[in-house]
């Protein structure tokens, strides 16, 4: 079965650059780019939603399907 990739949306006007999503992604999919979080490796994402759950600022959305 082919793996479907999520869409990861980072809302920069909400992101406060805290690194939480980046540090705790189990698959190292995210990185900080300048002040904001950004997607580094979407292919590795396992849609665990950890980043979305932990972002204190409503700034990251993992959209599946």
């Amino acid at each position: 079965m082919e793996k479907t990739l999520p869409k990861i949306e980072i809302i920069e006007k909400y992101c406060k650059g805290c690194h939480i999503c980046v540090e705790f992604c189990p698959k190292d999919c995210l990185e900080m780019k300048g002040f904001y979080a950004s997607v580094k490796n979407l292919e590795a994402c396992i849609k665990c939603m950890q980043c979305e759950l932990r972002c204190p600022d409503f700034a990251i959305k993992v959209i599946t399907e």
């Binding site: 949306e9 006007k13 909400y14 406060k16 650059g17 805290c18 690194h19 939480i20 540090e23 705790f24 939603m49 950890q50 979305e52 759950l53 932990r54 972002c55 204190p56 600022d57 409503f58 959305k61 993992v62 959209i63 599946t64 399907e65």
Partner: protein, 273 residues
């Protein structure tokens, strides 16, 4: 699917006021997911807070929201609940607000076992006023008013709540974000006074003074100290040294709930008329 928080957030209110990495936002999201899980009716849900960073939470949520005075949330909320027992009443606030200036109202709300849920965000500090120690700051730690280390012993909020008569007491952490909504759901469903303590972080005023290099270190600490109650059962006292239990710590189903008891008072008084 990404969770639709916008349904519960008042339009135009984000970004919120909390600092980068402040756990209060994580707790607010947990509360929103819990309200969505329970399909709470916004018009019949009151969210009541005191004063402090944590107490700014109600302003963001599209319900009946009441930002009271420092420490007084439980007493205001008791008025709302007594007047309209059919409403869902949720209290939110910080450790200082709830256990120092508001400690009296807190223990009496526990004692009455009035059907409300209290989410207390324990970041071990008075965040809003710049990091003075709170009754939850651990002994020896630094705060702006304990420059030589805190001489005071701290409260164990959960034990305090249980001792005072709350009938549902749970603890989670801002790191264990996906557990927060589950604990709050159970707390709201419980009929009686329920307390959910969330161990939280204040990188700005607490982390900085206590040698946490970043919010990540603070999160890692929460990850390390938390032990689910089930797992703790299999651990030795030694292994539990320095750990904090998480999950549902206490539940009692038989203690009468206050508004139901008052309804009986009304029945007795009407009969005696």
């Amino acid at each position: 699917m990404a969770f639709d928080y916008d349904k519960w957030i008042r339009p135009g209110k984000l970004p919120h006021i909390w600092c980068p990495g402040c756990g209060h936002g994580i707790v607010m999201k947990g509360l929103i997911r819990a309200m969505e899980t329970l399909k709470l009716e916004k018009n019949d849900t009151a969210i009541v807070s005191g004063i402090g960073c944590a107490s700014r939470l109600p302003g963001y949520i599209d319900c009946c929201t009441l930002h009271t005075a420092h420490g007084r949330a439980a007493a205001f909320a008791t008025g709302v609940k007594m007047a309209k027992p059919e409403m869902n009443v949720i209290l939110v606030g910080g450790d200082g607000d709830g256990t120092a200036i508001g400690g009296n109202h807190f223990i009496h709300a526990c004692r009455r076992n009035i059907d409300m849920t209290y989410i207390i965000m324990n970041n071990y500090i008075y965040g809003m006023t710049g990091g003075q120690f709170s009754p939850c700051t651990p002994t020896g730690h630094k705060a702006s008013t304990t420059p030589y280390g805190n001489p005071d012993p701290g409260f164990d909020i959960a034990k305090l709540a249980i001792g005072a008569g709350a009938t549902f007491v749970a603890r989670g952490t801002a790191f264990h974000a996906n557990q927060i909504d589950k604990l709050i759901v159970e707390a709201i469903q419980h009929k009686g006074f329920s307390v959910v303590e969330i161990l939280d972080d204040c990188p700005t005023t607490y982390g900085r003074r206590n040698k946490y290099k970043s919010v990540i270190e603070m999160m890692n600490r929460l990850k390390e100290v938390a032990v689910p109650v089930k797992a703790a059962e299999k651990m030795t006292a030694e292994q539990l040294q320095g750990k904090v239990l998480t999950g549902v710590l206490y539940k009692e189903e038989n203690k009468p709930e206050y508004t139901s008891e008052y309804a009986k008072v009304i029945e007795r008084a009407s009969a005696a008329k």
